[in-house]
């Protein structure tokens, strides 16, 4: 481990890194040629190459968002990013075949172990591409398709062409344009009609190289009446220079389908995490985003649901932890585009050691969408005087037959709570850890047990040495 890494690794457990072995590594910087080279390397159909190029041009023209943390956004040096790095020549379906360095990394992250115990399928992405991929046989037999996105495009070009960019067009925002131009990896998941996938499927995204850009693209289609739970985790080494993670995730829940998408991102604090996640829910479909943001330098992410069919339901449960030098700009957007659609948004954030968390939400009910119900709850906990929390809720309600509730609270840990817990034998740090874990509990209980335990440990670690 280099000294540079050690200095800033701090309490972050996943800050270790491997030697940067690569089989193909592009020079830093972005141009139309780089975009074309990526597409050529992947031997893509022409429509994808053209889409990439179109997106690239849009990216170049598109100005940076003039909202959010503009200072940090404008510090991104797009010329100092590696846009493509292949570290293994193919995606293996046995861990034994994965190069040792990379396999060891995923072992340290506990992925193979989790896979054996409780997962239905796993994709492990390292830098730009998946290095490992597998799915349980019984799911495959039922017609479930779970592939890395590159393989998905190769094997199911017609499905990909139909849905890719259908929820999030390349021109949606600057970063969706960037992702569409240089995307690599991510998951492609299709659940056939009526199939219920009982065990969660997981993707794990790991950045290893310095100044790396990771641009995975995920597309999930749940056909009529099917259900699936998709889980993703993310970590990266701690470097003193920045990396960029800019994903696009599109979910399509057809009639009566249910998709739950759970994320705990724990990027190191040198990673820009600028992600667009959006779902379409058709008639009576349910989409649930369970979204945890613990790491990164700046996260901007607002999981969205378009409630397009009558009776559809959206659930967005998110937590954000903003520690030293971090800004978590997160939230949720729900568009009620059909009648009798319902949504729940619960957002909880903690700011500590000068960290900043912002809730940014949009709730829209179109004039024709009658009888909609929605509840939005935002709770912020601020642990010290240096830290900050802001809320930017927007509501556009087009009719009076809909029932909407909005609650927001900002609180501090009370000295009564601390004294009470300390009088029961807990140190001040332990007491803080308990209070913080309790505050996030409505989120944690929605996670698979293994993730919940890990998240609680992580937060307890964050509380250590918190009070002078």
């Amino acid at each position: 481990m280099s000294n540079e890494t050690e200095e800033i690794i701090g309490d972050y457990r996943y800050g270790f890194h491997d030697p940067e072995n690569s089989t193909i590594r592009f020079d830093k910087g972005l141009s139309e040629q780089v975009v074309r080279d990526i597409s050529e390397l992947k031997d893509e159909p022409e429509w994808m190459t053209e889409l990439r190029v179109k997106a690239y041009r849009h990216f170049v023209e598109r100005v940076m968002p003039d909202w959010g943390n503009c200072n940090l956004l404008n510090m991104i040096d797009f010329e100092n990013v590696t846009y493509f790095l292949r570290s293994s020549n193919k995606t293996e379906n046995s861990w034994d075949e994965v190069p040792d360095d990379i396999k060891n990394t995923f072992n340290r992250l506990g992925i193979p172990e989790a896979e054996q115990k409780w997962l239905g399928g796993v994709t492990a992405q390292y830098e730009s591409e998946a290095v490992y991929h597998s799915i349980r046989e019984d799911l495959e037999e039922q017609g479930v398709i779970f592939l890395d996105m590159d393989s998905g495009l190769k094997q199911y070009p017609e499905i990909v062409k139909k849905y890719f960019g259908s929820v999030i067009p390349h021109s949606d925002n600057k970063f969706s344009a960037l992702n569409t131009a240089v995307w690599s990896g991510g998951s492609f998941l299709y659940i056939p009609k009526g199939v219920s996938v009982e065990m969660p499927v997981q993707a794990y995204f790991r950045i290893n190289a310095k100044n790396m850009g990771q641009f995975e693209r995920t597309l999930i289609i749940a056909d009529e009446g099917s259900t699936v739970h998709y889980v993703e985790g993310c970590t990266a080494p701690s470097y003193s220079t920045d990396s960029l993670h800019s994903a696009v995730v599109e979910l399509i829940a057809l009639e009566g389908a249910k998709i739950r998408y759970s994320t705990v991102q724990n990027w190191s604090s040198n990673v820009y995490n600028l992600v667009t996640k959006r779902a379409v829910a058709h008639k009576n479909a349910v989409v649930e985003w369970v979204d945890g943001n613990i790491g990164s330098k700046l996260t901007m992410k607002y999981p969205s649901v378009l409630l397009k069919g009558e009776g559809a339901h959206a659930e967005v449960i998110s937590v954000a932890y903003a520690g030293k030098g971090q800004h978590q700009d997160t939230g949720a957007k729900v568009h009620h585009l059909a009648s009798n659609t319902t949504s729940n948004i619960l957002s909880k954030s903690i700011s500590k050691d000068g960290g900043r968390s912002s809730y940014r939400g949009l709730l829209q009910v179109t004039p024709k969408s009658t009888g909609c119900r929605s509840k939005v709850v935002c709770d912020a906990l601020i642990l010290d005087g240096d830290s900050r929390s802001d809320t930017y809720p927007t509501m556009e309600i087009g009719n009076s037959s809909s029932d909407l509730e909005h609650e927001a609270s900002v609180s501090k840990v009370s000295s009564d709570q601390l004294f009470y817990l300390m009088s029961r034998g807990f140190t001040e740090d332990e007491a803080m850890g308990l209070i913080v874990n309790g505050f996030f509990e409505p989120f944690t209980r929605e996670l698979p047990m293994e993730y919940a335990v890990e998240l609680n440990k992580l937060l307890e670690l964050e509380m250590e040495g918190s009070i002078g």
Partner: protein, 251 residues
């Protein structure tokens, strides 16, 4: 009980305490030995709760004069959690709620931090079940969040449950009887009596009715930050009957 050797648990010497610059306690002296039950009575604002809180180490209370010793050692250097681990316990008048933290998990962690040997899973569950049975507490308590949405009586029961599990050497009970119906009072009193056999107990109360069930060895009347009179159980009866005015006059 009744052995010749007395074992001092708490010694309060000429204790003066201020809150935000306002003097509350103005020279309290008190010694509690193991196996003794002391009751402190007094009007609202006399300083009773301050005494309990300052002994436990509440950061808002400033000791301006005097000292407090626990089992012979001065307390001033000990943090609140160290006092708990040393064997001190405060049953709160208004226990704080900790949303999202389940009672069962909280109890296990608390007991683990106070005891030298952390409790083992099955043994602890057995112990916990027995204690809850004594207090007529339903198992569903364990999955609720600590004091969150609890009634007054439920909060007090949870305090006593913690006391039974933590087995303190000094138990400070701050108006544990308030807000309890007679059945709950009986159950709580039973818990206190059990702990009192091996520890020193300081019971802060306004009423005689708890002292009918938990027989004090000493009763202290507190007025305006000092213990003005100490007696046996009969003092509590007189205070209940006649109030505190006669003490004012006597002072």
């Amino acid at each position: 009980m009744g052995e010749a050797v007395t074992e001092e648990v708490l010694r309060v010497e000429n204790l003066h305490v201020s809150v935000e610059g306002t003097p509350i306690l103005k020279g309290v002296n008190l010694i509690i030995n193991r196996g003794e039950i002391h009751a402190v009575m007094g009007r609202n604002g006399a300083g009773k709760s301050t005494l309990a809180n300052v002994v436990m180490g509440h950061p808002a209370y400033e000791i301006t004069e005097g000292r407090v010793f626990f089992k012979g050692s001065p307390l001033e250097e000990l943090e609140v959690f160290e006092r708990a681990r040393a064997g001190m316990f405060l049953s709160f008048q208004y226990p704080a709620s900790i949303p999202g933290v389940q009672v069962g998990n909280f109890l296990k962690k608390s007991v683990a931090s106070v005891r030298d040997e952390p409790p083992k899973g099955r043994a602890f569950r057995k112990e916990l079940n027995a204690a809850m049975e004594k207090l007529s507490m339903d198992k569903s308590f364990l999955s609720r969040y600590v004091n969150d949405g609890f009634s007054g009586g439920e909060k007090k029961r949870l305090e006593i449950l913690q006391m039974l599990l933590l087995e303190p050497h000094l138990a400070l009970l701050d108006e544990t009887d308030s807000g309890l119906d007679i059945d709950a009072l009986r159950i709580v009193a039973q818990g206190i009596n059990e702990v009192a056999v091996n520890s020193g107990c300081l019971i802060i109360t306004h009423y005689q009715r708890l002292l009918d069930l938990v027989k004090p060895d000493f009763v202290h009347a507190m007025i305006d930050g000092v213990i003005i009179k100490t007696g046996g159980p009969e003092l509590a009866l007189r205070l209940e009957d006649q109030g505190y005015d006669w003490l004012d006059v006597a002072a």
